[in-house]
Symmetry: C2
Subunit: 313 residues, 2 copies
């Protein structure tokens, strides 16, 4: 399998990305090849800094341009087909690579996925999934964490179905417990959208719906899939990640609380598109990039997107 990584995207690119790739490359499964996309001369200069020998599991695909963080996604993608993000999606669409990962412009990654590999037939809105560490071990899949700020009840219900297939495929969770993030446990609680989504989730035969959970349940083993709109989900997910920063400020180190650090998973997949696309934090460190590559490998192995397509067909 081939995992493509955008070398030019991210606040600490290209150094941190190349370093992360080098960290991952020393310990890859035999069948995994890393495809580095970006300015060839930059990559060739940096690689020897972080690897002692030429690595046979790394190849380079040159891309001259860079889409900057502040650029308008749609405009940038059409004006810069030779950008690292543009080239990455071209390779993904042509199935020359099995996954594409970037810490660059999130909007361009989202738009690029929708325009190149496109949404799976039957998916109303692809979304971004986040992984929430659970006290009892493992992670819950939370979606949407930011792609769709305004959601209809039907979208939320479908996030539950998509998330359920994803959790089962990628994390091996049988019959995942799907819960709706809400502001009370009873089914009539919440916003109008949440109330309507509850009914749709309850009626869905594709999932094991366990009802509402609340903000204080997020880390407490109440669900394997947490359904939420991209507004509430984004705010909650970022607050959850900030626990790591809080504990560091207070000089605390703890095995569980440290898992709230964004670096520990390293990326968030766009779910509901015809391929494996993973977005990393703009501030991604080398460790985050290494872990993102691990997630990409796991996701390719899981074949999650084809399983989502099968469910909806």
């Amino acid at each position: 399998m081939k995992i493509a990584v955008d070398i030019m995207g991210g606040d600490f690119a290209p150094e941190a990305i190349v370093e992360g790739v080098a960290m991952a490359a020393t310990n890859l499964p035999k069948d995994v090849q890393l495809v580095l996309i970006g300015q060839q001369r930059v990559i060739e200069t940096l690689l020897p800094k972080y690897t002692t020998e030429p690595l046979s599991n790394i190849e380079i695909v040159h891309a001259e341009d860079v889409i900057e963080m502040g650029e308008h996604p749609t405009k940038a993608l059409s004006q810069k087909p030779n950008s690292s993000i543009g080239v990455g999606f071209k390779l993904l669409k042509e199935k020359q690579v099995d996954a594409f990962c970037s810490a660059g412009n999130t909007g361009a990654m989202h738009v690029g996925a929708l325009f190149s590999i496109k949404a799976i037939e039957g998916v109303m809105r692809p979304c971004i999934a986040g992984f929430v560490p659970q006290l009892g071990g493992g992670h819950a899949v939370m979606l949407d964490i930011g792609a769709n700020a305004d959601c209809k009840p039907e979208m939320l219900a479908q996030f539950g179905e998509i998330g359920s297939v994803y959790a089962q495929a990628t994390f091996g969770i049988e019959n995942p417990r799907v819960a709706l993030m809400n502001i009370g446990s009873e089914e009539q609680k919440g916003s109008l959208v949440a109330q309507a989504a509850y009914q749709l989730l309850k009626e869905s035969r594709r999932i094991n719906f366990v009802g509402n959970i609340e903000g204080n349940d997020m880390f407490f083993d109440k669900a394997d899939v947490i359904v939420t709109d991209g507004f509430t989900g984004n705010a909650l997910f970022k607050l959850g990640e900030s626990i790591y920063a809080l504990t560091k400020k207070r000089g605390i180190s703890d095995e569980f609380l440290d898992k709230t650090n964004y670096e520990s998973v390293g990326g968030s997949p766009i779910v509901g598109v015809n391929g494996n696309v993973i977005i990393a934090h703009g501030i991604s460190s080398a460790l985050a990039i290494k872990n993102m590559i691990g997630l990409a490998i796991r996701q390719v192995q899981s074949d999650a997107y084809n399983k989502i397509a099968q469910m909806l067909s």
Copy 2:
């Protein structure tokens, strides 16, 4: 001043409430009288358990009925005028007490406030304010944390104005920084409601609007007033409070993180009504009740609700 406390409301009522009142009563300012509302025989049996001597700053007002946690607010209030919540609002409306606090049925507290002392003229929707501890010290006022699951932009803008007056009056913060909880820092980010609210907040001459903040900013001294709808706000606030439970599960004790415990403030005011109404957690302990009484005293001294009325007149 007279602070009324519902003795019958809360999961651990009446014991925890009476114990909390007794804790507060031993160290009250001279001009404060506590008014205990509930079944007289119950209160008279319990008080001697937690106080060694008859306390002159405690008086009892008998209320025979109790509104249970699961009851329908409006129905319960009309069918049980002699409930502790019903009697509490009667006293508050007649200005026989200066504040009314309860850990009982939240819906009944909210409806009771709207039907008795009513919303301040010009207030679109009263809301519930939560206090978010800040790393640099003090608290930010976050509103709405649960009264209004669906909000219009105008409501959010007004939460900012009301919250600003409240923060200044009750916490003594000059020119409070008002921020909108959103999912990006730029003004065009977020849901349609958040985008429109941003513009209204920016245009308001009554506040010091500092723009958007995100979930990860909540504890990091970015704002004195955090504006959010009652859905997102409720989920975020509960997640924030759960940090205390997380740290306890991990055996961690920390001066700052311990402040995320609901007990440390003890209650949340309904803001935007013509009086001081404070709602406590259903699970309130004696310590939470003691601290809620402290908040009520501070709020009466601050005259916040009259200052909000003046701003809007």
